[in-house]
């Protein structure tokens, strides 16, 4: 296909094709055992009917109403009792800003670490059928169900100054994790990364792998295929997993306070600040909670297209 002259080639081919006549004649009656696909009427509109006429089992409506009320009432209370008058002052207090800043740094850092290590892990779990894969997946997902405080204790035993890995970090690299901002970030990563891994793995499993085959036949190597084909195709899962991961990191309390402590400006993130403020300055606690509620809502709105796909 150097600089082919389409028309000329086409003609010569057609002229050479006495084929079509002979063949067309011989096969005029289509085969019987397998009716040609185009003869069958498309069974498209058969199942359109049932929607909107669902009848709920008795009692579901009131029970669901209780659930909705239970889930929304606390948020309403937060809005009703918010000290709207003193809000600007509460929010700009030095401690609050520091906590907010720290929370953003740690949660974004945790998201970054989760993406860097979690996406390759998700890919391997989804694609490579190695021995013990289910065990690895279970171990990776364990922090999701583990009480965060337990996670914090475990982190301390691993990466604490006397932890099984921490002592080496300390003596060889001079790195101390507990009670540092990096420690807070790692605590959040520990708790949040599984959310990313599980979501992205599901996304990779669900995608049509033949797109990667197509990329390979076009000359793309593995890395190029991953970057230009796989990643864009799993973008929705990546966004959902990233958002879940980040939101989980932002709200992380137990592991952070256990492993990293509660040092204002260094490890005191928003949830910790809220908890502390509740003891002596409830209004500030409410104000901080409002901020986190706003952030959560923003994430939810941003992801609505993924969780509630428009029909």
């Amino acid at each position: 296909m150097s600089d082919g002259d389409t028309t000329a080639g086409g003609r010569s081919r057609e002229a050479a094709g006495g084929l079509a006549v002979v063949a067309g004649d011989a096969i005029a009656p289509p085969p019987r055992p397998e009716p040609p696909p185009w003869s069958a009427p498309a069974p498209a509109t058969m199942r359109a009917a049932r929607r909107g006429d669902e009848r709920a089992p008795l009692g579901f409506v009131p029970l669901a109403a209780v659930a909705v009320a239970f889930l929304t009432l606390p948020l309403v209370a937060l809005l009703v009792r918010a000290p709207w008058g003193s809000l600007p002052g509460d929010l700009t207090a030095p401690g609050v800003l520091a906590a907010l800043r720290l929370s953003l740094i740690c949660s974004v850092g945790a998201l970054g670490l989760s993406l860097l290590f979690g996406v390759p892990l998700a890919w391997l779990l989804a694609r490579v059928p190695f021995r013990g894969r289910n065990l690895v997946r279970a171990l990776v997902l364990l922090p999701m169900v583990l009480p965060p405080v337990v996670g914090g204790v475990a982190l301390l035993l691993a990466f604490g100054r006397n932890g099984i890995a921490g002592q080496w970090l300390d003596s060889l690299a001079g790195v101390t994790l507990p009670f540092t901002t990096l420690g807070a970030m790692l605590a959040e990563t520990f708790v949040a990364m599984p959310f990313l891994v599980i979501t992205v793995e599901a996304g990779i499993r669900a995608m049509d792998r033949r797109y990667e085959d197509a990329a390979a036949t076009l000359g793309a190597g593995r890395w190029r295929t991953f970057r230009l084909v796989t990643l864009p195709l799993i973008a929705p899962a990546l966004a959902a997993g990233g958002a879940l991961c980040w939101a989980r990191a932002l709200g992380e309390f137990g592991a952070t306070i256990t492993f990293a402590g509660n040092l204002p400006g260094t490890t005191q993130t928003m949830p910790l600040a809220v908890y502390l403020a509740l003891q002596n300055n409830p209004d500030a606690a409410i104000a901080l909670s409002l901020v986190m509620l706003a952030i959560s809502l923003a994430v939810l709105v941003g992801l609505r297209s993924h969780w509630f796909p428009s029909r």
Binding site: A20, A23, I27, R32, P36, A220, P232
Partner: protein
């Protein structure tokens, strides 16, 4: 241009063992029923499925040799593929899709764009360059897929059911268009289809695959005059029998004899083919010349064009093509016995 492939592999219940040799440019059609292994064979040639046994060489370059553990990865094979539902990358524009292969093979951005635009022009779609695949019609998507596969100058082009996604009305037109585009391709095209009309009109050579084996290969004319398997005969609407040669007759399993006009090949196993329109039906025992007469029962009638095909069971099942008038006057739909008559000159016999 030459492709030599011996492909042996197992996948699920499929046991693929195929030898394929193409020594000319042109279109080779791989025809076969579902699950015959057509797509698996195509994927093996493209390097998407490893061979367990065999060897693939293209223009004397070894692409894969199971015995020598040689395996050129897919991305380094000079093979273009048009996949079954085209698989255009949904997140890229049409132009980006066509330019993808060029970029992957190291062409600079600007040059790749220019070449991709040329390819799109060639398939008549330069005005859709900035569209997303979702916005294309089936026929347009097919042409974009073709342009994308051809953009990298492959030496072998593989097409997997290129027309199956089309609706009936558009098929004939698209088939002609595809045929025209394929004719401009200087290398070998291997087209997979299960549709006999597609196979006959697109292919210079036909290879029939059944249950992982090649059962027949040849030109469309050879196939339609001398089918060698039930599947091919059914596709062509012919009656095919297998038996043993015995002077001017062939003896079918069960002992029934079919008499032919020409001397049959001396050797043992033979095929006999009888076109349905050469089969006459009678309500009473016919007198005179037909050499092959037997009794049967009309099981089923279906209308094909302006003819009716009568499926007859009995000691020798056969399909007869009759006129609607004959169906009415002989009351063929009453399920009663009929006499089937076939002249000896209509029985074509050839070696199995």
């Amino acid at each position: 241009m030459s492709l030599e492939a011996a492909v042996g592999l197992r996948k699920g219940t499929l046991d693929l063992d195929v030898r394929l040799e193409v020594r000319s440019s042109g279109v080779v059609v791989l025809l076969g029923p579902n699950a015959a292994g057509k797509t698996t064979l195509l994927r093996a040639l493209a390097g998407l499925v490893p061979l367990e046994r065999g060897r693939v060489t293209l223009d004397d370059v070894v692409l894969e040799d199971a015995a020598a553990a040689v395996r050129v990865p897919t991305e380094q094979r000079p093979i273009g593929v048009v996949f079954q539902d085209y698989l255009l990358f949904p997140h890229m524009t049409v132009l980006e899709n066509v330019a993808f292969g060029l970029r992957a093979r190291g062409t600079g951005r600007t040059l790749a764009r220019t070449r991709a635009l040329e390819m799109l022009e060639r398939v008549g779609l330069s005005d859709r360059a900035s569209a997303k695949p979702k916005a294309l019609s089936g026929g347009q998507a097919q042409r974009v897929a073709l342009a994308r596969a051809l953009a990298t100058d492959p030496r072998l082009l593989l097409l997997d059911e290129p027309l199956s996604a089309m609706d009936a009305g558009a098929r004939a037109e698209l088939r002609r268009g595809l045929s025209r585009h394929l004719a401009t391709f200087p290398g070998t095209c291997l087209v997979i289809t299960h549709d006999p009309i597609e196979a006959m009109t697109l292919g210079d050579q036909l290879v029939v695959l059944e249950a992982g084996r090649v059962v027949q290969a040849g030109t469309p004319e050879e196939l339609s005059s001398r089918p060698r398997s039930r599947y091919v005969a059914d596709l062509l609407g012919l009656n095919l029998y297998r038996g043993r040669a015995d002077e001017r007759a062939i003896v079918l399993t069960g002992g029934r004899r079919l008499i032919a006009a020409d001397p049959v090949p001396a050797s043992g196993e033979v095929f006999a083919v009888i076109p349905p329109r050469a089969v006459a039906l009678h309500r009473v025992l016919p007198e005179g010349s037909p050499r092959n007469v037997w009794k049967g029962v009309v099981e089923d009638l279906d209308v094909v064009g302006n003819h009716v095909r009568a499926h007859i069971s009995g000691e020798l099942p056969i399909i007869a093509e009759v006129t609607p008038g004959a169906v009415a006057s002989m009351r063929l739909d009453d399920g009663g016995p009929v006499f089937v008559a076939v002249k000896a000159v209509e029985v074509e016999v050839y070696e199995a």
